[in-house]
């Protein structure tokens, strides 16, 4: 049994995919669309205010998810587009890239959505997002002073996230 979590995070971080500092920004949302965390490393262009920006990002993912599930050629039974899905139903995407950036996405069954935006040539970041999820568990969820569903204000989490992201992207 385990309490008072050790500071050691297992499994150890996956090996960096590409070297250099390529990460642009990171979002963490919960199921209710509340932005728990927004970190920015390199974002020259900003057109919206933060609230609009977060909402747009969440909406993009939500719609993209239902579209990808709708287009899935392998599953016979599926609901109409836009009809809420039960968790676990349908497929889910894990990244897309454009000519200027790559967005990697992970959603846990508990509804936490992790989004990392990086340089378009970054490799597969699924393991990295899993590692970030472990960081979140260790430094946020296990912090008794943190109340679930509120924005994350944890210096140690931010520091280790910054450090880790610098090493991957």
């Amino acid at each position: 049994m385990q309490f008072f979590g050790g500071s050691e995070i297992s499994p150890s971080p996956p090996a960096p995919t590409v070297s250099g500092n390529n990460a642009n920004m990171m979002y963490v949302f919960n199921r209710n669309g509340i932005c728990l965390l927004y970190r920015e490393w390199n974002r020259p262009l900003r057109t919206l205010n933060p609230q609009q920006d977060h909402k747009l990002m969440f909406g993009l993912l939500f719609s993209l998810k239902s579209l990808t599930a709708k287009m899935d050629p392998t599953i016979a039974e599926k609901g109409n587009l836009g009809v809420p899905q039960l968790p676990g139903q349908g497929c889910s995407f894990h990244s897309f890239h454009t000519n200027t950036y790559k967005l990697s996405f992970m959603e846990t069954p508990s509804g936490i959505k992790l989004i990392l935006v990086t340089h378009p040539r970054t490799g597969d970041l699924r393991e990295s997002l899993k590692y970030i999820y472990n960081l979140y568990v260790e430094y946020v969820v296990k912090n008794p002073l943190y109340s679930p569903g509120t924005p994350i204000r944890s210096e140690i989490f931010n520091t280790s996230l910054d450090q880790y992201v610098r090493s991957i992207a």
Binding site: M1, Q2, F3, F4, G5, G6, E8, S10, R31, N32, G33, K55, F58, G59, F62, P84, Q85, L86, P87, G88, T108, P109, S110, G111, I112, D124, R126, E127, K130, Y133, N134, Y136, V137, V141, K142, P148
Partner: protein, 186 residues
């Protein structure tokens, strides 16, 4: 890159940092004892333990998902198996079994032969209505709620009340679909 498969409860239990089992048992005992002193009513203590468990459960589920690599369960049957085989092993070091399914697969029993919470415990006559391990039912309820399953968890058998095992009845009330959380005109 092939995704790593789910890890077994044993593997996670072996790699996790643990505390001494007796310290754990005694700490839990002290909490229940204190609640009994503070709240006086056994019913209130049951409620409070359940609430504490719920608060634990809504956090614990993330740790569970992060460490176990379990992906989404197909149905409630699989969910119950995962709780019994992986969840209990990972956090308490014991395994439970799942039995007594009803016909539509929405209600089952999780049976614990071995329960580290109750070592050294005897219920005095004044506390016969106490569900000593009520924290566990709260944990399960809280954790399942975070993965969109509303459940009702009750004790069917309790060794401290003279039964031969601990049996938790888990009833799936409904699965909550994921909806777009913002209103259109916001």
């Amino acid at each position: 890159m092939a995704p790593a498969g789910p890890r077994s409860g044993d593997a996670i239990f072996a790699s996790a940092e643990r505390v001494n089992a007796e310290l754990f048992t005694l700490t839990y005992g002290a909490i229940v004892r204190q609640l009994l002193t503070d709240l006086e009513e056994v019913e209130e203590v049951n409620k409070q333990l359940d609430q504490m468990g719920y608060n634990i459960g809504i956090r614990l589920v993330d740790e569970f998902l992060a460490k176990s690599n379990v992906s989404r369960c197909i149905d409630f049957k699989e969910t119950a198996e995962v709780i019994a085989k992986v969840g209990f092993k990972m956090f308490l070091g014991v395994t439970a079994s799942v039995t007594n399914w009803d016909a539509d697969g929405t209600c089952c029993s999780i049976v614990l032969e071995d329960n580290p919470l109750v070592d050294f415990v005897e219920l005095p006559d004044t506390c016969q209505g106490l569900y000593y391990c009520n924290v566990l039912s709260g944990v399960i309820r809280g954790a399942l709620e975070m993965v969109s399953m509303k459940t009702e968890v009750t004790w069917a058998r309790d060794m401290l009340r003279g039964d031969d095992a601990f049996e938790l009845q888990v009833k799936l009330l409904k699965q909550v679909p994921e909806e777009y959380p913002y209103k259109d005109d916001e």
